[in-house]
């Protein structure tokens, strides 16, 4: 398939592919669902008053914990199926991973203590904001480092501690902050009312413009990274199949702008998700089938068939249950957040 991994036959060919799809779904789910609650954190301190912050935070409080489940499912899945890739990527991303974990810890505590604090409430406001901001920035850097590729010797990371730190990865870091900001702002449009909703619509526009600018910069930058990615994008005839991706993205961006201004409630958020999915598709097209670009493919990094099969049984049960729980939680906490959250929130 696609001319890759042809030296592998039977299960040894299909299992890594299946697992790549599973991990891809887990990562996409994570980016979409934790993306908007991180986005809420990113715009958090810009809110006008405590009531706004209460309502913004409450709109994600019941579900953020489930959202982060996908991060764990992704990380454990990587170790479980592509342990060679895990062993290369984690040391290579040592510092950004550390920043992300620590930021997520602070952000998690902020959820617990902010609603209980009086005098120390400001501290938890900042913990939530900077935790969200740093976690997002670190994830964006991881993304950029991934596209840049890693230096590998044998089955080990052979580069330096700071290899991930380049202007390009910083740009993807900023880009992801804008993107999550867009998800957060459109989520806020969907979940709130009154002046807060109007403010969130304005924020959506700002984040939309910023996201498009950053996407354009990053996309234009990629060919200069000296990888074989540009060969795939700009070669005939694959360009015919791939050109729709940026065109579609531009169209969706326009639709988001329209729906925000036309007063739609859910459309901006759903369209923002579509925009993220398109970005993800572009990434997959650029990097497939490498799990450690530019040298190690999913087949080379995969564990033995036996090991993959054993884990697959567990995931076959776990993924549907997690999907069901997620759907249920979103169903229970559907609708707009009440203006006063003191009495229970969902009015």
């Amino acid at each position: 398939m696609f001319g890759f991994g042809t030296e592998y036959v039977g299960w040894a060919f299909w299992l890594p592919l299946l697992w790549a799809v599973i991990l891809g779904v887990a990562i996409t789910m994570y980016v979409v669902v934790d993306g908007f609650d991180l986005g809420i954190g990113i715009m958090f301190t810009r809110a006008e008053n405590d009531n706004w912050r209460d309502r913004m935070m409450f709109s994600v409080a019941p579900i953020w914990d489930g959202n982060e489940t996908w991060l764990i499912l992704g990380g454990a899945g990587l170790f479980c199926v592509f342990s060679v890739a895990y062993a290369i990527l984690m040391p290579a991303l040592y510092i950004p991973m550390l920043i992300m974990l620590i930021a997520l810890v602070f952000r998690g505590i902020a959820f617990e203590f902010r609603f209980k604090a009086d005098t120390s409430k400001r501290i938890w406001d900042y913990a939530f904001h900077y935790g969200s901001l740093l976690a997002t920035f670190a994830q964006g850097i991881v993304l950029g480092a991934f596209v840049q590729g890693f230096e590998v010797g044998g089955r080990q990371f052979a580069g330096g501690t700071w290899d991930w730190l380049t202007p390009f990865s910083l740009a993807t870091g900023v880009g992801l902050v804008c993107g999550y900001g867009l998800l957060g702002a459109t989520w806020c449009v969907m979940k709130t009312t009154g002046a807060l909703e109007i403010w969130a619509r304005r924020k959506s526009e700002q984040f939309l413009v910023a996201t498009i600018v950053m996407m354009a910069i990053v996309s234009a930058w990629v060919p200069f990274l000296g990888r074989q990615i540009e060969a795939r994008w700009f070669s005939w005839p694959s360009i015919l199949a791939l050109v729709p991706v940026p065109l579609l993205t531009a169209f969706v961006a326009y639709m988001i702008y329209r729906s925000v201004n036309d007063g739609h409630h859910t459309a901006p958020f759903l369209l923002s998700i579509v925009m993220f999915l398109l970005g993800f598709l572009g990434l997959v097209i650029s990097l497939f089938p490498y799990i450690v670009p530019p040298s190690i493919t999913i087949w080379q990094a995969a564990n033995t068939v036996d090991s993959q099969m054993f884990a697959l049984i567990g995931y076959a049960f776990a993924l549907p249950i997690t999907f069901a729980y997620t759907a249920y939680a979103y169903y229970v906490f559907r609708g707009k957040v009440a203006k006063e959250i003191a009495g229970g929130g969902y009015g």
Binding site: Y86, A87, P91, G108, Q156, I321, E340
Partner: protein, 480 residues
């Protein structure tokens, strides 16, 4: 000592996992304790039990949250700091850890929300079912983690090919030789941790409100104290027995670790029981030894003349650091016998009367509050330091398992974890202390029970506890 990436990574791992383990150790026991309370409530209809449940579930929520937060760090640390270990064991431990994650998270996601916030949304029986599922989830989660750890201690069912450990027989991998008894020993350790923590905190409540507290409040503490002590009295002797059985397994599969635990340098029959000694790694002998002849052999082999392996059976570079292993093991043992002592004392007081009023006993019980945590930690230190210098016993040395990362990077992360965990631990303890000071609400009314209905599902805590103690802040004014 040369503080390179290896040593710093070891310190970091020891620190983060020691921090992490105290929360699962507590919540595994607490989940079952909550299931028991709810069962008694459904059986008898006595509101006292429900009241106790509502109190201890808050303690559970905070501990569970801290366990999850510190656990996420652990799962990524295997890759960041121990990538060669991840590579070598990935085919075998990857699936085991993935199973731990998916079982733990499925049960958490599905039932913790109902358990914490679902009293008014679902029926009593469904709520009880949710509590049981969370309790079961903690036990299944421990099952996979202990299986993975035991495999590293007594690896089985694998072959090494191309520098990677590959699975041959999953049954042998999961149920490796040291797993069944280690799991039993650990789960009972967790249960005892909870029992002594509950007993100690209840004793503290009784001591703190001797006369002025409402009777209803004290009755709850008495019942909890009584239940916890009954449990401890039954389980402590069983735990000592299982620990002894587990020791026989160590003798069989990890003789060098056993020699370190006993401070035994020469392979010999008639080994004495060393009560005290200062083992000297370089001189290969013990100083200031106080011992009872022959008893050591009897305990280990159940024969006075039994032969016991010595540290000199293997070259010096295959021996664990003897001094810490020797002492942490004796520390664990001492705590175990202190637990037994308190259990027997409790039986005596029950028979004589005065269990709830004997201040000396209540003070002793209070002092024993952290005993289980101490025993669990010391037990783990024995197991983990004792298998050095190997990470996978006989297969992979710790020194060969570390990531190709720089000393600088590990120094930064170690410092960060030290600072951040201090803050997290500080906030968590502060909040727990506040909860305990308040104690269970009186039986007559459970304020806030209805308003919990539509609150968010968050694992760390229930929503109606104010951190700063002040009166609930007035509802914020809308800007519109």
């Amino acid at each position: 000592m040369n503080f390179d990436a290896l040593v710093l990574s070891r310190i970091q791992f020891a620190f983060t996992i020691s921090f992490h383990i105290i929360f699962p150790a507590f919540t595994i026991g607490l989940a079952s304790w909550l299931a028991r309370l709810e069962f008694e409530w459904l059986r008898t209809g006595n509101p006292q039990y429900k009241n106790l449940y509502k109190f201890w579930v808050k303690v559970f929520a905070v501990s569970f949250g801290l366990g999850v937060v510190s656990g996420i760090v652990m799962s990524y640390q295997l890759g960041t700091n121990w990538s060669r270990y991840s590579e070598f064991t990935g085919n075998i431990l990857g699936p085991l850890i993935a199973y731990e994650v998916i079982t733990a998270f499925c049960l958490e996601a599905g039932f913790l929300g109902i358990m914490l916030f679902g009293w008014d949304r679902v029926g009593d029986r469904l709520h009880f079912f949710a509590t049981c599922m969370v309790a079961l989830g903690t036990l299944i989660s421990a099952f996979w983690i202990l299986s993975a750890n035991s495999w590293m201690q007594t690896p089985d069912g694998f072959r090494v090919e191309n520098g990677l450990a590959l699975p041959v027989d999953w049954w042998k991998i999961i149920f490796n030789p040291s797993f069944p008894l280690r799991y039993a020993h650990m789960v009972m350790g967790c249960y005892l941790t909870t029992a002594f923590a509950v007993a100690g905190m209840s004793a503290w409540m009784l001591l703190r409100h001797p006369h002025d507290a409402p009777e209803a409040k004290l009755a709850g503490a008495r019942r909890a104290l009584s239940m916890a002590l009954w449990f401890a009295t039954i389980v402590t002797p069983i735990q000592i027995f299982v620990g002894d059985m587990h020791g026989l397994g160590v003798l069989k599969y990890q003789p060098t670790k056993l020699a370190a635990i006993e401070g035994n340098w020469e392979r010999r029959a008639n080994m004495p029981l060393r009560l005290f000694a200062i083992p000297d790694q370089n001189a290969e002998t013990n100083h200031y030894e106080i011992s009872i002849p022959k008893i050591g052999s009897y305990i280990l082999t159940h024969e006075f003349g039994g032969e016991v392996p010595g540290l000199k059976d293997v070259p010096p570079d295959q021996r664990p650091p003897v001094l810490p292993v020797f002492f942490v093991f004796r520390g664990m043992l001492a705590i175990g016998f202190a637990m037994l002592g308190l259990s027997l004392w409790h039986l005596y007081l029950r028979w004589k009367g005065g269990l709830f009023t004997d201040r000396l006993f209540l003070n002793a019980a209070m002092m024993m509050t952290p005993s289980g945590f101490g025993a669990v930690l010391l037990g783990w230190f024995t197991a983990e330091i004792g298998r050095q210098p190997y990470l996978v016993y006989g297969q992979l040395r710790t020194a060969d398992a570390v990531s190709p990362v720089t000393t600088g990077a590990v120094t930064i992360s170690l410092m960060t974890f030290l600072i951040v965990y201090s803050i997290v631990f500080g906030c968590g303890s502060y909040y727990l202390a506040k909860l305990l000071r308040k104690g269970p609400d009186p039986v007559e009314e459970i304020p806030g029970a209805e308003s919990l209905a539509k609150k968010p599902k968050r694992p760390l805590s229930l929503p109606d506890e104010r951190l700063d103690g002040g009166p609930r802040r007035k509802a914020p004014q809308p800007a519109e």
